[in-house]
Symmetry: C2
């Protein structure tokens, strides 16, 4: 059941008004990570709530309590729960999005004012903080709602909305809400599937559906020696230096080619092949990635340097999507500024993290990491002290992309873009995805609106006008395909 | 020729007045590294100049020009040149000291106000910034001058003074002055030897003379990859990560036991043994260090941790005094603060330095370091870019401790302290030492006043009252022994 042709032409006809509404949303600097902008996150919640009500959604703001940020006690922005339609003959889809944004200052290197949506007519880009992450996609849903409201046409499915204002700052308070409302009698009870539009195409050309996210396990490995920093002239070659030990330890983790040297970590993933085949495809893993519209030039354009690990697109894609990765982020406690300081730092902490794929979890990877570091440290025969901490972690997520939720989205994509979507897994994490999947026990679909070069979290964040409009049509069409498809 | 007994008792009798004068000097916060205190460095120069004039020294302030610090254009504090005595039948000794100090705030962890000299009657300590580094030693010379001036007794030697106010900030402008004034007809022309009192005993028990300082070669090794920082979720295991490469490189430099792995660096020093024997002693190097009053507990007390590289005092002392050392100071450009950031830093610079001993110089060590890093980087087969820079360096210094300048100091030490001094080499650098040695072509003696635990540059800097008074006697006696000794 395709969407009514009228919906599609309505979106084209109302393009200017929709872009104007996106400009209104972008103008509210709802930066969740900056205490001084907390009032703007509240203002953004009020703005979105008013929009939803006006379009016939029954909403409520949920107080998520307070938290401490940068030493300041602050109220958490409310979550917005909404419902439209309550027809037991229709499927119910839960739609998630977030109305907070990353920080942005023109002085960071923006070409335009970040909180003024700027339309570049030449490139067709809508430039501004939050344009693609995640105000554009949220407003895509509003565009669809507006058509049905204005034309007084019932939606093809029941929709439950869950919008939050702390996604860019760890989604504080949301997990508890989702778990609570997923229980019998809760707000989300009866939801058949979930759709989240908060990620990106693999490239700038081909729409995508996303069925996997990597998890994360973040480590802090500390080597402590003297009680305070020492002078390298006085103490050089008389004591065990914590930096020397730490550098040795960090050097045992990963090769310059990305292979993880912690025994058992890479090995664990081979066992997952069978699982991936069973759930997602009957081909060997390589073949999945062979079909994606992607090439080495894409990754090197994104990194703006010719530094891909391989000239083979499949191994690069598998490295990002279905392999764990280990990145060393930095060292706390050492000399880190410009200039030349001859210090022997007393206590240094290396920070590294492993992106996890099934069947890896922080719980089964932690012991391997700790054993590896303790063994490597013992070999150094240092008198310094070692501590290993897991700072935080999250499990990976993998959905069945042959589920009807995905099939509906495939049909919608074909209808709007005239091509099959890339079926992708993301290298990063959107932790709430797993929370929805585990709490509700239903299929979760990631249905991106923007392109791979949108620059979410970066300067000059943009959403292409065509992605905003075609993406709105895609979201609407998905609802119709969802209604039509056999469960 | 020992000093007149009257000089020694004069110093004891005037102890309170001398300590009062030290308190006056400490009260001027002449912090050369803080632009807001530059006026205090000038005030300190005026104070010291007035003291010298009052005690019969013919002085002049030398304008050293201007410099930029923290983006501010500032006048450099003047050097003070002074002369007392011009008898061609007497030896002429050049005495160097500095009247600027390190920064200090009570909030850094001081128990007392840093710029108020506090006398702890129980411990006999004179506590305050600059007490031992280097106002105490300078005032030791003033104490000696005062005796001769007041009693109208001619000094046994001619003295040329060179005091500066930028020692704690790189001695800007001084090298040029020393080189210029060392030429024929210059202020320092005719100087027979140099004495610098600006370092410390090896321990808290035994007076020392110092005949060697290590040099330094400071390196910045940069690995650059992507044009900007990347997200480890999106890019982990797709690109060559600069941090992985850099950690690998830094891991090839030195063992946790302090052995330098850069081919040729440690090896170069064995060749120096013969030289050391020839100039300084006819025993094997080990025996030199065997005789020093030092034990492992001293180094571990100073580091406040049981982290000495060896239980053998000789190898620890040799590690500090006659071996090169390599310390890794930190990384610029990586994540360095608290918390957990999942960044792949785009460009990271490791900072490390090698303390040099003869015959090592930055010039002969640089090529070994560069070749080592380039070879190690090539092995990584990374597509990132490597750059190696030498940020700054200085040659090591080694004097003949059998020279009459040292013999005079040995006799003076025996006379005042009743024991032979430890003959030490320092692990750190005092660059002006080498400048004097090379420009004047005469023997330079380091004659420390303070103890190894004085905490120069640290909180609660102190000079023991006994070191101030006996040290003043030592300086005075040294001048008499210098006059008497056969050139």
């Amino acid at each position: 059941m395709p969407a009514p042709a009228d919906l599609l032409s309505y979106i084209d006809k109302n393009a200017d008004a929709f872009i104007k509404r996106l400009a209104d949303a972008v103008a509210i600097p709802s930066i969740s990570g900056d205490a001084s902008h907390r009032k703007d996150v509240f203002a953004m919640a009020d703005w979105l709530n008013a929009q939803l009500k006006q379009l016939g959604v029954d909403t409520k703001l949920v107080d998520l309590g307070r938290h401490t940020m940068d030493g300041e006690d602050l109220p958490l922005p409310p979550a917005i729960l909404g419902r439209i339609g309550n027809d037991s003959n229709k499927k119910t889809v839960l739609i998630y999005g977030h109305f907070d944004v990353q920080p942005a200052n023109k002085s960071d290197g923006w070409d335009t004012e970040p909180f003024t949506l700027t339309i570049n007519e030449a490139t067709g880009q809508l430039i501004g903080r939050g344009s693609t992450d995640d105000k554009g996609p949220i407003l895509g849903w509003l565009n669809v709602l507006q058509y049905h409201h204005e034309k007084n046409i019932p939606l093809p499915v029941n929709i439950v909305f869950c919008f939050e204002g702390m996604e860019e700052s760890g989604s504080e308070g949301l997990d508890e809400l989702v778990v609570r409302e997923s229980k019998k009698g809760g707000y989300f009870d009866g939801v058949d599937c979930v759709c989240i539009s908060d990620n990106y195409w693999l490239n700038t050309r081909t729409p995508a559906l996303t069925y996997g996210l990597r998890g994360l396990s973040y480590y802090k490995v500390t080597v402590a020696g003297p009680a305070r920093d020492l002078h390298s002239g006085v103490f050089g070659r008389t004591v065990h230096e914590p930096m020397t030990d730490l550098i040795s330890l960090l050097g045992t983790l990963v090769t310059p080619q990305g292979d993880i040297l912690i025994k058992g970590v890479d090995e664990m993933v081979d066992a997952a092949d069978a699982d991936e085949r069973q759930h997602c495809t009957n081909t060997v893993p390589r073949a999945i990635y062979e079909g994606l519209d992607y090439n080495i030039a894409d990754v090197e354009a994104a990194a703006r340097a010719s530094i891909a690990l391989s000239a083979d697109k499949v191994s690069v894609l598998m490295g990002r999507m279905r392999s764990p990765s280990l990145s060393i982020h930095g060292i706390e406690g050492a000399f880190s500024t410009a200039g030349a300081k001859t210090v022997i730092p007393a206590k240094v902490s290396g920070k590294f993290s492993i992106r996890l794929v099934p069947p890896q979890t922080p719980d089964n990877v932690d012991p391997l990491v700790i054993a590896h570091l303790e063994e490597a440290f013992a070999k150094l025969q240092s008198k310094n002290k070692l501590t290993v901490e897991n700072l935080h972690g999250g499990k990976p997520w993998l959905a069945d992309h042959r589920h009807w939720n995905f099939e509906a989205a495939k049909k919608a994509t074909k209808a709007i873009y005239g091509q099959d979507p890339d079926l992708t897994r993301e290298g990063g994490s959107i932790p709430v995805t797993l929370t929805f999947a585990e709490s509700l026990g239903v299929n979760v679909l990631l249905l991106p609106m923007g392109r791979g070069d949108d620059g979410a979290h970066s300067t000059n964040e943009k959403l292409d006008k065509s992605n905003f409009l075609e993406g709105s049509k895609l979201l609407g069409t998905y609802l119709y395909e969802l209604a039509a498809i056999q469960k």
